[in-house]
């Protein structure tokens, strides 16, 4: 038993000579073989990282940068809009992608009935359904926004009136300059029509649910 303990102690010695490694010399703690193994692995890892990390950053970069500059789009003169009916307009939200980059918006002047505290002179409703992003249309007769995909229904303020959507319809910032109505960026709202940064459809912004859908750097 004592001899076994001795060999164990010998194995645990930091010096290769003590451990009986062939070719070991006085004062050596790491064998040349192990040093070269580690060195080859390190060089290989470095080489892999040299092309892997840039490629990964290339693919993931859009997650952390907002490529679209803040911009205003002219959608018409103030006289074209009123505070009762929504007037549809088409704006470009994704440049350089042709028809696919355009979206319909509904524009209405702010009225006495609008009780939100958003401080926007115009109500500009995004047609991107808050359920999964299908295009809602406004039905004047029922004063509802209706989504064709899964039956989401919103009232005239964009609040959910029925179906699967998790939050009201998004809106766009508006500015009036020289009698023209200018439309800025999209923002999201919770069920009390309080402003949030833009979220993807399907992301909750109410109650505890909002904490599992963090705001993104892109918006």
């Amino acid at each position: 038993m004592a001899s076994l303990k001795d060999t164990d102690k010998q194995k645990r010695s930091p010096y290769t000579v003590d451990r009986g490694v062939p070719g070991g010399f006085e004062g050596e703690t790491v064998t040349r073989r192990r040093l070269f193994e580690g060195g080859a692995l390190a060089v290989g890892g470095l080489a892999s990282a040299a092309f892997g990390l840039p490629a990964l950053g290339f693919a993931l970069g859009p997650l952390f940068s907002d490529p679209s500059p803040r911009r205003l789009r002219d959608v018409g003169a103030e006289a074209e809009f009123n505070d009762q009916t929504y007037i549809p307009r088409v704006i470009t939200i994704a440049p350089d992608s042709g028809e696919a980059g355009k979206t319909t918006i509904y524009v209405r002047k702010r009225s006495q009935q609008d009780t939100d505290r958003l401080d926007q002179p115009y109500i500009v409703i995004s047609t991107r359904c808050a359920h999964l992003g299908c295009p809602v249309r406004h039905v004047q007769a029922s004063e509802r926004f209706i989504c064709p995909c899964h039956g989401g229904i919103y009232d005239r303020y964009g609040k959910v009136a029925g179906g699967p959507p998790v939050r009201p319809l998004d809106r766009f910032e508006t500015v009036v300059q020289g009698g023209r109505v200018l439309v800025g960026d999209r923002f999201s709202l919770n069920s009390k029509l309080e402003r949030f940064s833009t979220r993807d459809p399907s992301n909750h912004v109410d109650g505890l649910w909002q904490y599992i859908y963090p705001p993104r750097p892109t918006t």
């Binding site: 693919a59 993931l60 859009p62 997650l63 907002d66 490529p67 679209s68 939200i93 994704a94 440049p95 350089d96 992608s97 042709g98 696919a100 980059g101 359920h131 999964l132 992003g133 299908c134 295009p135 995909c149 833009t198 979220r199 993807d200 459809p201 399907s202 992301n203 599992i212 859908y213 963090p214 993104r216 892109t218 918006t219």
Partner: protein, 299 residues
């Protein structure tokens, strides 16, 4: 003489594929007329010494020599690569009794994948992955290019066929209990292949870029966005930004034709290796046939 004899013997080994070493140094071992092999024929012609014994073989020597070319090419390759034993291990495996058409579903799925890969390569020759030109190029390759409708149709319907086949293959594996020890890893690889196949369906669906493609992909990306914490980031990754824009189609195209097919091909290789290594599961209704003597032997 020595070299000549070795060449012949190499060809003989590959041709008969029995792996047993034939006689060395040009010794005519199968010179008997009953042998009648092409090797003997050539050998006799070249050797001359034995030609008197078999004069009839000389007439067709050239013809037989030509017939021998594939065999000697195969032998040449086999000597340098060792492909023949590997192929023998893979193709001439023992299979249990009761193996039926059910066990062909995996091969059928792989054939569907190969078909998708081949038709996809030809579609890629005309398709333009850009949000302004994708639809036009799809219309062009469908209606203007010779057989374009056929090739696109094969790719489009083949996608559904592959998904159906992979599910049938999985159902067979499940109901036959072929996922159990020692084949768990192969089941896991198979599940990854299933997910990758569905990812192919998802990314390929966008590429024609008509109204259906566009809105279906919007919905699909937003379903991804509904996953907690990472969902919004995943959606940003798929779109290449916060909005569905100019970067989205190239992204889907790269995933569809480079990333996922490469992974699928590699994993099919691993899948097949494990099938060959572990063998095929006997159908569950088959009882083991054991003699009493064998049972005793096993104990």
């Amino acid at each position: 003489m020595k070299l000549f004899g070795r060449k012949r013997n190499t060809a003989g080994t590959a041709g008969t594929a029995n792996g047993s070493p034939t006689a060395d140094n040009g010794t005519p071992t199968n010179g008997a007329p009953s042998g009648g092999s092409t090797i003997t024929g050539r050998h006799v012609q070249g050797n001359g010494a034995n030609g008197k014994q078999h004069p009839t073989i000389d007439r067709s020597g050239l013809k037989r020599g030509v017939a021998e070319v594939p065999i000697s090419v195969a032998g040449w390759l086999d000597e340098r690569t060792g492909a023949s034993p590997a192929m023998r291990v893979f193709l001439y495996r023992k299979v249990p009794k009761g193996v039926s058409w059910w066990q062909t579903l995996g091969s059928a799925t792989m054939f569907a994948f190969v078909s998708q890969a081949v038709t996809g390569v030809f579609l890629a020759m005309y398709y333009i992955p850009s949000s302004t030109e994708a639809y036009e190029s799809t219309v062009y390759l469908t209606n203007e290019v010779f057989a374009g409708q056929l090739v696109r149709g094969m790719h489009r319907w083949g996608a559904s066929v592959m998904v159906i086949l992979i599910f049938l293959h999985m159902a067979r594996t499940f109901f036959f209990g072929a996922y159990k020890y020692p084949r768990e890893i192969n089941w896991i690889i198979g599940v990854v292949l299933l997910v990758l196949t569905l990812a192919m369906g998802l990314t390929g669906y966008l590429l024609p870029f008509d109204q259906r493609s566009y809105w279906a992909t919007i919905v699909a990306v937003n379903i991804n966005a509904s996953a907690p914490i990472l969902g919004p980031y995943l959606a940003d990754f798929l779109r290449g930004g916060a909005e569905f824009g100019a970067t989205t189609i190239p992204r889907f195209y790269a995933i569809h034709m480079l990333l996922v097919p490469g992974l699928i091909a590699a994993l099919i290789g691993a899948h097949l290796y494990l099938v060959a290594k572990l063998g095929i599961t006997a159908p569950p209704w088959l009882k083991a046939e054991k003699s009493r003597a064998l049972s005793r032997e096993e104990i």
